[in-house]
């Protein structure tokens, strides 16, 4: 059952091959079996899951079900889930029980999805390796001495190990796409404003987007269909109709214009990864696509811009954690200042503190213009590069990550090294564009992901382009050894 897609599981439930309870129990047993090794979960919600499964069963029998009814799902622990611990991977929220459901969670619940638990993540979504979590590192199911990527590492590892057919993640600088790439699954970051951020603990408000993670683009389409759409509770949510993402997945790609940015195939890209990507591009060529080299000249500025904008917005968003209304409070505070400083000093981990410090510095008096304002100007240049490119191509492709999964601890000591590995994903967040990562091969038995970027609100195109590849190849069906 754990090797079936969401579509196949939905069919199985509909034709009564198995019941929602059997399906849920199957995955809960797998989680029990594998979680100690992989550490993908912070909280498992078995009782709630079984109750939801039974409710889904009633709905399906009454003929009231929709595709996701009875389908198990896991949520990154950054989404508020009513009555359930929501820690954001941090000691700061270790004792926090969310008083409401995030909009994405509510919509998936309404569709009848069965929540199995909350997945592990880099603390406050800060990281590309899932090594900064208060709850310990997540292991990559393909090689447990390696990272799964981050910050949605728990969700990616859970899907890769077939502990769930569906997961949610969030992406601010690549946090859905990069772990999807390193774990050999499919992950989509929607256009900024497409999916509501209400109830999604804030990292960088002008960059964050929640999105689906699953084995296939077809499955991601089903999830995105439910998650996407205007939400009055999110002031940055865009009022724009949601198309049927499941229609048009099979559309032939003949004549599709694909742009390959020369900057994405330059130094820094691992040779083995490059070869796998080239083979994937060749598959697209055989489907009748027109491949051209393009240029995104300001690519190398994406990392410095991001490392000003994101920490700045982050430091502002984390000011709310003050030990007063919720979250960690230090013991015996002497006075208010002591309460603030020690609650925050003790509640936050080192990477979070580092980024708060950078953010505070670049926004402080005398530096705002030189750093934050300048970064927002360069951001427009980066966005304009994409605008120009999309006048001549339909989608842009390249590697999601310059390397395959690195070893635990390898980059943790050098933050700048870690930051440079986000080079291909960051610019997409800065421009607010949608992007997807699909597994396209292995290098030294580790997954390689191809990133596909489309214009604003063109998720249908992304899903179609990804799906056609998955109809021609079988990489998306490859599971790591040892998870049968």
């Amino acid at each position: 059952m754990h090797n079936l897609s969401i579509w196949q599981l939905a069919e199985g439930l509909r034709t009564k091959k198995f019941s929602p309870r059997e399906l849920t129990e199957h995955f809960l047993t797998r989680i029990e079996h594998f979680n100690e090794l992989l550490n993908c979960f912070i909280t498992t919600t078995s009782d709630g899951a079984l109750a939801a499964a039974d409710a889904a069963d009633k709905r399906i029998r009454a003929g009231d079900g929709v595709p996701l009814t009875g389908i198990p799902i896991v949520h990154k622990d950054i989404f508020c889930t009513e009555g359930v611990k929501t820690s954001c991977g941090s000691r700061m929220l270790d004792n926090f029980i969310a008083p409401y459901d995030a909009t994405s969670v509510a919509r998936l619940k309404q569709a009848g999805a069965v929540m199995l638990g909350k997945t592990n993540m880099d603390e406050f979504a800060m990281g590309s390796s899932n090594e900064t979590s208060y709850y310990g590192a997540v292991k990559n199911p393909w090689d447990i001495e390696r990272v799964p990527g981050g910050s949605s590492g728990g969700s990616a590892a859970a899907v890769a190990a077939r502990l769930t057919p569906a997961a949610t993640g969030t992406d601010t600088g690549g946090s859905i796409r990069q772990p999807a790439s390193l774990c050999g699954i499919t992950g989509l970051k929607p256009t900024y404003g497409r999916v509501s951020r209400y109830g999604m603990i804030a990292f960088a408000s002008s960059l964050d987007q929640g999105g689906p993670m699953a084995c296939t683009a077809e499955d991601c389409a089903l999830l995105l269909q439910v998650m996407a759409g205007f939400d009055p509770c999110d002031s940055t949510s865009i009022e724009r109709a949601v198309p049927d993402y499941t229609a048009g997945l099979d559309q032939p790609l003949k004549g599709l214009r694909i742009g390959l940015p020369r900057e994405y195939f330059a130094e820094g890209l691992n040779e083995g990864v490059g070869s796998v990507i080239e083979e994937a591009i060749a598959t697209y060529r055989s489907l009748g696509c027109k491949i051209t080299e393009i240029s995104l000249p300001n690519t190398n500025l994406a990392v410095p811009v991001y490392y000003v904008v994101a920490p700045a917005e982050f430091s502002s968003n984390l000011a709310r954690y003050d030990g007063v209304r919720y979250g960690y409070r230090c013991e015996d505070p002497k006075d208010l200042l002591d309460l603030y400083k020690r609650s925050r000093g003790e509640g936050f981990g080192p990477e979070v503190k580092r980024r708060i410090m950078i953010g505070t510095y670049v926004l402080s008096a005398g530096y705002y213009d030189a750093y934050y304002l300048k970064a927002q100007q360069v951001r427009r240049l980066i966005s304009d590069d994409f605008k120009q490119a999309f006048e001549n191509v339909d989608v842009i492709m390249g590697p999601t990550s310059p390397s395959t999964a690195f070893k635990l601890g390898e980059k943790a000591a050098d933050p700048v090294q870690m930051y440079l590995s986000d080079i291909y994903t960051i610019a997409v967040n800065l421009a607010g564009l949608p992007g997807i990562s699909i597994p396209v091969g292995l290098h030294q038995n580790l997954p390689v992901g191809l990133q596909i970027i489309a214009n604003h609100f063109d998720e249908s195109r992304l899903l179609n382009v990804a799906h056609r590849f998955q109809q021609e190849t079988a990489w998306h069906a490859r599971a790591p050894d040892g998870v049968e």
């Binding site: 002008s206 000003v308 919720y326 979250g327 960690y328 925050r344 510095y361 300048k374 240049l381 607010g432």
Partner: protein
């Protein structure tokens, strides 16, 4: 742009973060490296460029000034470290 330990202490105070004396050299090093990375932005001329705060340049949506939310204070205060009579308790502020 390189920082020193006085800068670090000042930033930590602004951010209301307690940091240990022994961690300061680490912060000086990390933050200076990150700022060196960020310096690259200065090689680009942006004199006529309008800053981009939102990927689609959308501005704040407004709604009618009508009450739509209900009072859920008791529910939200279940997460409070210390609360009484509907108030959040903190150490005395006024001398």
């Amino acid at each position: 742009m390189s920082l020193n330990s006085e800068d670090i202490k000042k930033i930590a105070h602004l951010a209301r973060l307690q940091i240990d004396e022994e961690d300061i050299p680490g912060y000086v090093r990390n933050l200076s490296e990150i700022l060196a990375l960020v310096e690259q932005m200065n090689y680009v001329n942006t004199s006529d460029v309008h800053p981009m705060a939102h990927p689609q340049d959308v501005s704040q949506r407004l709604r009618a000034d009508k009450i739509t939310e209900t009072d859920q204070r008791a529910h939200f205060q279940e997460n409070a470290p210390l609360a009484a009579a509907g108030l959040y308790l903190v150490p005395k502020v006024i001398e």
